[in-house]
């Protein structure tokens, strides 16, 4: 999904889904929400069970990639009753357009939600045009 296509000002929410890449590895694409204000774009990504140390965010060539490892295994002696194993990787890929100032992208994680802040480039912010 390209951030350049964000023209709605209300948040856009995307559901959880499975993705398989060319090497056959399966990732879970997490639920996320896009929103923006005049200074920046914000991406709120739901990553339950993933702590700060299990997260990796990289930006390369306009592609923002986020990988979160969720690896909770039940302690010895526990039996799963309605079998939902919690050991997989979340991966989210977003195309970052040239409106974003790449050097100042920041990420904040708390309570299983990662917030990415993508500041808009100064020169590309909304400018008021005076009417004389």
């Amino acid at each position: 999904m390209s951030l350049l296509n964000v023209v709605k000002t209300s948040p856009i929410a995307c559901k959880l889904s499975y993705e398989e890449d060319s090497n056959g590895a399966v990732f879970l694409r997490p639920r996320y929400e896009l929103s923006e204000d005049q200074n920046a774009y914000y991406v709120d990504v739901d990553l339950p069970g993933v702590g700060k140390k299990d997260l990796g965010v990289t930006l390369h060539d306009g592609l923002l990639e986020l990988i979160g490892e969720r690896s909770w295994t039940p302690p010895k002696g526990w039996k799963a009753v309605n079998g939902d194993h919690e050991s997989y990787s979340y991966r989210l890929r977003l195309m970052v357009g040239d409106r974003v100032e790449e050097g100042s992208i920041s990420a904040d994680s708390s309570n299983g939600v990662l917030r990415l802040t993508l500041p808009k480039e100064e020169g590309k912010k909304l400018r008021k045009i005076e009417i004389r």
Partner: protein
């Protein structure tokens, strides 16, 4: 609570009718709490009223049953867990800041807990958006090994 089910209100039955949980409602709670993907497609179900289901995953061991529920974005103090008559009502508010100010959305789930637990001793832990509730088994009902002589 929204779901697709044969038990619609025109039959005069809703999960909250009457002042106590009857056997019927226990069954309904079991269905909602443990059936995979009947009511949501691959993850959270997003409804217009801004509330979301949070299905528990159950584990058991000799001393207790444990339910793990995903509630990302919630502060531990915003989680409310009420236990009544073998049913658990979980609700948690998720606040988010945006340009327009604070908005909030809530997770809400009613589920039943297995028989034979001492619900006065239940405890909950929260880490990275996952809530883990432990229901210790009542003393006399723990599995006992019987020796064969």
């Amino acid at each position: 609570m929204r779901y697709v089910s044969p038990f619609s209100s025109k039959y005069g039955i809703t999960p909250f009718s009457g002042s106590s949980f009857s056997n019927f409602e226990k069954e309904l709670g079991k269905v909602l709490g443990s059936l995979p993907s009947l009511f949501d497609v691959g993850g959270y179900r997003i409804s217009d009223s801004g509330s979301r289901f949070a299905r528990p995953s159950w584990y058991e061991h000799d001393d207790a049953y444990v339910a793990r529920i995903e509630v990302p974005g919630v502060e531990p103090k915003e989680v409310s867990i009420e236990v009544c008559d073998n049913m658990v009502w979980l609700s948690a508010e998720r606040k988010s800041k945006s340009k327009e100010g604070e908005s909030s959305m809530s997770y809400s789930q009613l589920f039943s807990i297995p028989d034979g637990v001492d619900d006065a001793m239940a405890r909950a832990e929260f880490e990275d958006g996952v809530l883990s509730i432990t229901f210790p088994r009542a003393e006399g009902l723990k599995p006992r090994k019987i020796e064969v002589k």
